[in-house]
């Protein structure tokens, strides 16, 4: 497995629009050279759930967007070529209802020009609600990763995106890595509820301490697993906390909704602090 681990700063799935909407805020370089994870793409188009899809809560937002996306075919025909032309390193996030769907998506994406890698969404905060393959135990996610890995060229990364659930993350990370994941993304939005009790996922600064605990625990227990941190990254301090805890890259999600220039600033800040380090 000689695939490069992306980073150090990436766009988190579902928080960068189709790429076009983010471009105006990225500074002169635009998307060029940016690791852009798409929103999760499913085989068939999905309209997404009803509104309100996002509700603000202290320190974050609760979302139940419902994976709106145009389906694989339309994505390949329109969004992917645009992203590739813009110079992005496109990591396609994939989501399926069955292991077969994941394999299918991986196979078809392996042939699409310009796909730099895959991110497998096996940690949605409400997979049952959105009709995704249900990950109850770590071996469920590992089986999905193995199925995807079989279909996707070994020289391109397959990332396993897991839920930041401290009681399962070590086992999940280890088994996904063994199943062929180039790196493990820790993690997704945290299972949560809207004020009215409806299921959703909590994201944003509120969850950073939770995901950080998961990253630190995984890194201490299975240091050989490359980690990408995701959850509440908003500035250089929150990003370096993850990097110090053992992550080799960070993804930025909710912060972009709050301030679309976060990514540009973060790239600059991390480069500066990198240069200052001996």
């Amino acid at each position: 497995m000689s695939a490069r681990v992306p980073g150090p700063v990436m766009v988190a799935a579902g928080c960068g629009g189709t790429g076009r909407e983010l471009e105006p805020y990225l500074g002169p370089a635009g998307l060029d050279g940016l690791d852009f994870v798409t929103r999760s793409i499913t085989l068939d188009a999905r309209p997404g759930g009803p509104g309100p899809r996002l509700v603000e809560v202290p320190g974050g937002i609760v979302n139940a967007v419902g994976l709106p996306n145009p389906g694989l075919e339309h994505f390949l025909a329109t969004e992917l070529p645009w992203l590739v032309r813009a110079g992005a390193r496109v990591i396609v996030s994939i989501a399926g209802a069955t292991m077969g769907e994941y394999a299918d998506l991986a196979r078809r994406l392996s042939r699409a020009p310009g796909v730099a890698g895959l991110e497998v969404n096996v940690g949605a905060p409400d997979e049952v609600g959105v009709g995704l393959f249900e990950v109850r135990e770590p071996y469920h996610s590992a089986s999905v990763i193995a199925a995807v890995r079989r279909e996707f060229p070994a020289d391109r990364p397959v990332l396993a995106k897991l839920r930041p659930d401290v009681s399962r993350i070590v086992e999940g990370a280890r088994s996904c890595h063994e199943a062929g994941a180039t790196a493990v993304v820790v993690g997704n939005a945290v299972p949560a509820a809207f004020p009215d009790g409806r299921a959703g996922g909590l994201s944003g600064p509120a969850i950073a301490p939770i995901a950080l605990r998961c990253v630190a625990t995984v890194h201490q227990t299975v240091p050989e697993v490359p980690l990408i941190a995701c959850g509440g990254v908003r500035d250089a301090a929150s990003a370096t906390a993850y990097l110090r805890a053992g992550a080799s890259a960070v993804q930025v999600g909710t912060a972009l909704l709050h301030d679309p220039t976060t990514l540009a600033r973060l790239r600059a800040d991390l480069e500066t602090s990198h240069q200052e380090d001996p």
Partner: protein, 269 residues
Amino acid sequence: MAESRAPVHVTGEVVATKRIGGYRHLTLTAPGVPESFRAGNFVAVTVEGHVARRALWVHRVRASSAFGPTLDVVVETRGSGTAWLAAQPVGARVTITGPLGRPFALPKDPVSCLLVGEGYAAAPLFPLAERLRERGCQVSLLVSAPDEAHLLSALEARRSARSVTVLTADGSVGQRGTVADHVDDLLVRSNADVVYAAGPTAVIRAAAAAAERAGAWSQVAVEVPTPCGTGLCHGCPLPVVGEDGVDRVIRACTEGPVVRGDRVRWEAM
């Protein structure tokens, strides 16, 4: 539809603030925003300590003032964010993204237009009226509100509009009644080819339906919650019928907020 130029994310400043009736009118600098504004665009404002953004229609832009280019917004205090914004004094710094969203499409020919707006949401109709008049369109304006305090002043619009009708639900000023009660009649009287509407869903829906009955085009400015305002989160679903006749859900902030009235699936909102 016309495409808006690239939005910017900038720190601006409150240069004037005044209470008019039930609203707070703020004048802000926001380098780059007034310059590329078109009627129907909105801005997203950052509220300190809150993750989601607050969307506001742009009521007016001035190309130059003592402070350089400025924009005006009309704020109705509702929750934490609008309360915070309304309380900002002159000199306060405010982070603003804009101009956002698809603006009103302007007719190529100098046709007759009816503009229908209610409450603060009538705000984008005023710069629209000016643009239409510049193009030689005949503009009729219908401004409505629950009561006088929530009526945007139509005084300035009298320059741009051939006729201005004022409605309040309680009859405290202008005619008594709702947009639904009066819009068909006005459409006939103004002989409009295009209806532009902005306001609560019931109002823009009534305007779109009246346009359809009269065989006119309509463009409506839709308000659904827009957590980011920039097209990134897909959190602002607007159910429409696509040009191909297929049901779709678009992002109100990016593919809207202005859409053709006959495209909205009102019953799915």
